[in-house]
Symmetry: C2
Subunit: 441 residues, 2 copies
């Protein structure tokens, strides 16, 4: 056999239950995944890989699970710095007396280290892709890139001056620069991120959409998160947040809408017709007492829906596996229907749902040859994961972040057996502790 007949494989992850989450929901048990460079080359049953594979490195999962990395569709990663700073209070007190004063102390360093800590937590919890909105987002991009995570980042834009960029005009310029800086990057890309309808004028929102269309990137914003928001926007514009965006011509396939808790049937139809994508944040919506988003109704209309944790000030973690458990249970009790949001649906929300919501469906969300190698592994030989009848139920209702033992992102092993290779965790925790002491001496 000549050298030309060989196919180089950089890494073969094998001896695992392989949950592909492809269109047929194929499970290979035992199975394996072959990776070359940053891509999945092959997925199939154990020992059935082609004989012409020249395998450089093998990783034996000892019967554990491998599956696509989880997608955290909405967060403010740097808010790890405010985890537990203020909880269990009315929204207005929480924002005005705790979060806003703390955010006045924001600087690039806080955002960099807070994000790096968030990336550590997310990788250790099986998240390989996240979508972020915050201030000093250039530092978020830097931290995420260093952590080796796939991310979609965007500087938050609103009508008032920002401690980062100053005026909204400067914010738009900062956003253009952010998009250009990262547009060729294999891991990080940037979007346009106006905060919300109640904090952004119609002209700012329209300027945002122009940039999104010019660069062919998403426009991402909070939308219809609470009853208070709806009331406030109706008073100001005579329309609900969704209808206000419609009247501005901003409900387009470029729009990713976070939360969407308070929606009428007509608004659901409108979001579906316009191709808007949604990210659902059940735990944040519970903790802030915003309400329960009509996710089954969105799915019934074919709206792409991903799952997000929101920031650590309103959750207080970045744990998508916990979010999956909550999502499955919350919709059942909310409609008194135990068949709502079944486990398999929720696993798809956290993987392909998230990648569709973020426009990354060609790249990640399932284990298919040609997709990027974003893969996580889990140890299943634990009391709380025994016995195993149904892997979807186990993932949603029994597994937890600490069960994740492998994270491969873009073909690179960034975590194995709970050890992070891309982040100095001890130093990052020390930096964030020092920041926390400044925030609350």
């Amino acid at each position: 056999m000549t050298h030309q007949n060989k196919t180089m494989v950089d890494l073969l992850i094998h001896n695992a239950m392989v949950l592909s989450l492809n269109d047929e929901d194929e499970v290979f048990h035992p199975g394996a995944v072959a990776i070359r460079d940053d891509e999945i080359l092959w997925v199939g049953s154990e020992n059935s890989w082609p004989s012409h594979f020249d395998i450089r490195e093998r990783l034996d999962m000892a019967g554990g699970l491998i599956m696509p990395g989880l997608v955290n569709g909405h967060t403010h990663a740097a808010m790890t710095c405010f985890r537990g700073l203020a909880d269990d209070m009315p929204l207005i007190v929480w924002l005005n007396e705790h979060i806003f004063p703390a955010e006045r102390k924001l600087d690039g360093d806080l955002v960099y280290y807070g994000t790096l800590l968030g990336c550590a937590e997310m990788i250790l919890g099986g998240v390989t892709t996240f979508c972020d909105m915050y201030l000093f987002e250039d530092q978020v991009a830097r931290a995420a890139y260093e952590a080796g995570m796939r991310s979609l980042v965007g500087e938050v834009l609103y009508d008032f001056p920002s401690p980062n960029y100053g005026s909204p005009e400067h914010g738009l310029a900062f956003t253009r620069e952010l998009i250009r800086t990262w547009e060729e990057n294999p891991l990080v890309s940037a979007a346009v991120e106006p905060h919300a309808v109640y904090t952004c004028s119609p002209s700012l929102l329209s300027a945002c959409m122009e940039i999104a269309e010019e660069f062919d990137v998403p426009m991402i914003m909070h939308l219809s998160e609470s009853h208070d928001e709806v009331t406030q926007v109706k008073e100001r514009y005579g329309k609900s947040p969704v209808n206000h965006l419609e009247s501005l011509g901003l409900l387009t396939p470029s729009l990713i809408a976070d939360h969407c808790v308070v929606l009428t049937e007509e608004e659901l139809d409108l979001l579906a017709e316009r191709g808007v994508r949604v990210v659902h944040n059940p735990e944040s919506n519970m903790k802030l007492a915003s309400g329960v988003a009509p996710v089954p109704e969105m799915l019934a209309r074919g709206i792409p829906v991903g799952l997000g944790t929101d920031g650590c000030a309103s959750n207080n973690n970045l744990d998508i596996l916990a979010e999956m458990d909550t999502a499955a249970k919350l919709h059942k009790v909310h409609r008194l229907d135990p068949t709502a949001m079944e486990a398999r649906t929720v696993v798809h929300l956290a993987t392909m749902g998230g990648s569709r919501a973020l426009g990354l469906e060609e790249q990640v969300g399932s284990l298919i040859p040609g997709k990027k190698a974003d893969i996580i592994g889990m140890d299943l030989a634990k009391p709380h994961l025994t016995p195993l009848y149904n892997i979807y139920s186990q993932l949603v209702y029994a597994a937890s972040a600490a069960d994740v033992t492998l994270s491969v992102i873009n073909g690179r092993v960034v975590m194995r057996n709970r050890e992070l290779f891309s982040i100095d965790v001890d130093r990052t925790m020390a930096e964030v502790r020092a920041i926390a002491k400044k925030i609350k001496p």
Copy 2:
């Protein structure tokens, strides 16, 4: 100094943040706890222990947390064997086509190994006391005792024949025997446990209460768990489940009522007046779509309330830390009030609340000299637990079962650094996997 002046200390756990959960919610940071035999001898600040202490063994927590062990107030531990067997289906299909047929295969072995696995999961998740209801409960008692866990157990009683004891009369005799067998045991005790109002005749319920009063043990039952139960009981007896028990004279301080989801204001008042205790199972109530128990209303009336996981068929885990997170968030979204069920309240529910609900408040639930030494420890130096502003928030909203690194029950170290000393985990998992293959070949 003579030997007589010395006080022997078997174990000093120190260099920790000590969350006492005593009446003043004292926190010693850094602090320590001294244990002699099965009891807490002393709690206080680091290095402030009396000089006459003769310390045999020291355990350095390296800055981690120590706190009272968690109480799982309601479970069917052996149902670990059915974890993920059937989910996301209507209650009647779930019971008739999956759970009941599986339970027809019940035997003492299944219950023994299923409980042992449950004990492993609970200890690894910080639970030191649990209250159980199931069949073959003598095997539950045996497994719990071997695992070194504190438990309150009881054979489930109902009108139809049981695969364990046969007729209800034999069930009552089995219960008397169970109580007598364990009445002097330091860890295990038994209660009388009729299943529910809709499965037990008034005469069976009255016979149960007679035994409870004769032996001065609790009577424990499911009560008002779902709207279907209330409808069914009203049709049969012309009264709601709570009012039916009242008319039978069975609402007494001996009664521990599990679930209590569907209650009127009058019924809440009645439960409070009669001194009934309640165990709240938020995740099971969500997953089975039963509803949301009015827990803040119970607490406002001074009803003792503990937290429970229910069995693994309806959760699907025995994780009280997860239950705490869910309890805090569920009541906020249910009443659209972010101040409902604040973190400190929830930490008390899972500790002193549980011990009060089970009648163990003199023994466990807080770190106070003279109480039994049921103590857990946690590693706080983790990304998802950084920074630390508020320990109650951190426990409820950020900590997870895998953070628990120490379990001391009745003065005995049963787990340290995730290693269980009282259970052969690998063998137990293997036994349960073999049982699962018989249940679903």
